[in-house]
């Protein structure tokens, strides 16, 4: 298998290669180890994140739209274990509310008397899990009905940021996933056509280059403007924006694979061209494709947030990390947590995807693997 896997990491590979040649064995081992560790940690993080997003109804203590008029702009709370020097298990302090007479701003004080133990598998609000079943069991919660557990604070409507970050993650990850899907469909198709059929290569490659000449976000905005703002159109627009990158990867590999004897053997057997494209070409492009798809996933999450932030993304009523940041911008100086946590969610997720993609690239590249 190692003989055929095509390396398509063009420019960055060169610099890395040079690094690799000048590195000492110890550096190489350290490099491999850290890369490996980071990729594995990233993978686990992403798996857990995806599970939390999928089961957001359960993991989140509150519904994403649950407005609490008496608990707006509440700050994040820490989880404590000891109360007055005694171990009582994980709990949070309740908040007491006061209004500043001069500025009319609501101020929160932690109430040192109100110990709210965190209950696991707590019975809270009812929810409907994708219409599959109904339940009111949440992963955690507090018993006191007049108090709340807002680990990451609340926004201007008193909605729980932690819950919203999870629900938003569901949207953002879904958008990322769908964008990768759309980009793959278009990109694989264009890449195979351009790489396999000489006559199509010129026009298709020019189209790819033209599309890549535009900055991602600008092209996405233009496409959304043309298609009309809706969730489906955002996915479609971003899919179109990122398709050329996949097309390039596929084309580059296809150009090499097309000349290999096993493709010729298939032609000598009169295997239909579409079958050759899928069975012999596409199947041998999966490694670079997977790496590129990981990067595009990360880019798509960023781009979706950017679009939402600019107000041309998915409807502002659907919580995504981007819309959350956009809301939080108005409270940047007074309640920075509204913007901070969705921002962190984006940064960490994108970073994890990039690290995973990097690790995969090393893992799936037989030449680098041999060098290291």
């Amino acid at each position: 298998m190692t003989d055929q896997t095509i390396n398509t990491t063009a420019a960055p590979a060169k610099d890395r290669k040079e690094d690799l040649y000048t590195a000492t064995p110890a550096q190489l081992i350290w490099r491999r180890f850290t890369k490996h560790i980071l990729a594995v940690v990233s993978l686990w993080f992403l798996v857990i994140l995806a599970l939390c997003a999928l089961f957001a109804d359960m993991v989140a203590p509150y519904a994403p739209f649950e407005v609490q008029r008496l608990r707006t702009l509440a700050p994040p709370t820490g989880i404590h274990l000891f109360h007055e020097g005694r171990f009582v298990g994980p709990f949070v302090y309740g908040l007491s509310r006061e209004r500043d007479a001069e500025t009319a701003r609501v101020l929160y004080e932690t109430d040192p008397e109100a110990v709210l133990p965190i209950r696991l598998f707590h019975q809270g609000d009812d929810y409907d899990f994708f219409g599959l079943f109904q339940s009111n069991i949440h992963l955690f919660g507090v018993d006191d009905r007049r108090q709340q557990i807002n680990l990451l604070g609340t926004d201007d409507l008193g909605r729980d940021i932690f819950s919203r970050v999870l629900y938003s993650g569901r949207t953002s990850l879904t958008v990322g996933f769908l964008v990768v899907g759309v980009a793959s469909l278009i990109g694989i198709f264009l890449g195979l056509i351009a790489g396999f059929f000489r006559r199509a290569d010129g026009p298709v490659s020019r189209l790819i280059d033209a599309m890549m000449a535009f900055p991602d976000i600008l092209l996405a905005i233009a496409l959304v403007a043309a298609l009309g703002p809706s969730a489906a159109n955002v996915v479609l627009a971003l899919g179109i924006v990122y398709a050329p990158r996949l097309a390039r990867v596929v084309r580059a590999s296809t150009l090499v694979i097309r000349e290999l004897p096993y493709v010729e053997a298939a032609r000598a057997l009169a295997v239909p061209t579409p079958v050759i494209l899928v069975r012999h070409v596409l199947r041998n492009v999966t490694s670079p494709l997977l790496v590129q798809a990981t990067f595009i996933f990360a880019q798509a999450i960023l781009a979706e947030a950017g679009l939402s932030f600019l107000g041309v993304g998915i409807s502002p009523d659907i919580p995504t990390w981007g819309t959350m940041i956009s809301i939080g911008r108005q409270f940047m100086s007074t309640a920075e947590w509204i913007m901070l946590f969705p921002g962190l969610a984006i940064v960490i997720t994108v970073l994890a995807l990039q690290l995973l993609g990097d690790g995969l690239r090393d893992l799936l590249d037989p030449r680098l693997a041999k060098d290291i």
């Binding site: 003989d3 096993y262 053997a265 298939a266 199947r283």
Partner: protein, 332 residues
């Protein structure tokens, strides 16, 4: 304009494959023409093996691929069983595909690394509409046994095999469609010397047992001598000499053939061959010499050699040479 072979009377004398004036020119970098194969003609009788020899870059592979129409020839004919393959439409050609097969030089890139052996051979069985199911598994096992592998190997991937074993799998794939004509493009040159003989013997054995018609491409004259009934010597895209192996080896008429035989290692040290070393490199096919393409390296070249491409003249039955001085050199 589709002719079928059955429409023609089967004449025992008619060659199965007749290549006539086959030419393939590639458009190279900067729009320059690569003269890979120029005006190549020879024929192969049913059930015999013809060797195509020449140095690397002389156009052997290109000729083999063009005959099977795996690449489009620029001009010329490749008549197979009475039908010119070059005149067939892509669709009409499909009907002929399973009668024509090829074995590749590189055992590493000739098998899809993502496919198991049974899938690789199964693809060939699909090509001839072999039914799926138990029968197919038996047929795969049979083919693996035929090429000296174990039926247990069917579920493995190509990377689990050595070069020699992979070449056997390639042979099994080619034979799965029960072809009439097989092009073997340097099937052993990429293999360890220790396994070359085994694969050659296998090919030879299968050719005899199955009555295959074989075009055996090689740069190694001694291998061709061992395997082939007839030999075609190519240089820079053109045929220099062709004829029955024994006659060509015993009495080479073309200066190039003589030089090749002289530089080839002699298996029998008691045989003393005239040592005429082949000086210099093969010229670029982008800009082949005028007249006789061999003249830049020919020890007997005279100004007249640059004038026109030498005619291919038959010197004895089936033995033809393309050299204007072959007569005088023979008598000299």
């Amino acid at each position: 304009m589709i002719e079928t072979s059955t429409a023609k009377p089967q004449n025992g004398e008619a060659p199965l494959v007749a290549v006539e004036g086959l030419t393939k020119r590639f458009v190279g970098r900067g729009g320059r023409t690569v003269h890979a194969v120029e005006d190549v003609s020879f024929s192969i009788r049913r059930g015999t093996t013809v060797g195509l020899v020449g140095e690397s870059g002389s156009g052997k592979t290109t000729a083999g691929r063009a005959i099977l129409r795996l690449i489009e020839p620029t001009s010329g004919k490749a008549v197979f069983d009475g039908v010119d393959l070059c005149s067939l439409s892509e669709r009409a050609l499909r009907a002929y595909r399973q009668r024509l097969q090829i074995i590749f030089q590189d055992p590493f890139s000739s098998l899809n690394p993502r496919m198991r052996i049974d899938a690789i051979i199964g693809e060939a069985l699909d090509a001839r509409g072999f039914p799926r199911g138990v029968k197919r598994r038996e047929r795969v096992a049979e083919l693996l046994t035929l090429v000296g592998l174990s039926p247990d190997h069917a579920r493995r991937f190509p990377h689990e095999f050595s070069g020699g074993q992979r070449q056997r799998i390639g042979i099994a794939r080619a034979l799965a469609v029960e072809p009439d004509f097989v092009v073997a493009d340097e099937p052993v040159s990429a293999l360890d010397v220790s396994v070359q003989a085994q694969v050659l013997n296998l090919l030879n054995d299968l050719q005899k047992r199955l009555g295959l018609t074989l075009l055996f491409i090689s740069h190694d004259l001694s291998v061709v001598e061992y395997l082939c009934d007839e030999v075609v010597v190519m240089y820079l895209g053109r045929v220099m000499e062709r004829g029955p192996s024994r006659r060509v080896y015993a009495n080479p008429r073309h200066p190039y053939t003589k030089a090749l035989l002289a530089t080839a290692p002699v298996p029998d040290p008691t045989v003393e061959r005239n040592r005429v070393p082949l000086a210099g490199d093969i010229p670029s096919p982008l800009d082949p010499p005028s007249g006789c393409v061999f003249r830049t390296r020919c020890p007997h070249a005279i100004p007249a050699c640059a004038e026109a491409v030498p005619e291919t003249v038959t010197v004895e039955r089936d033995h033809a040479v393309a050299c204007i001085r072959q007569d005088e050199l023979e008598t000299a």
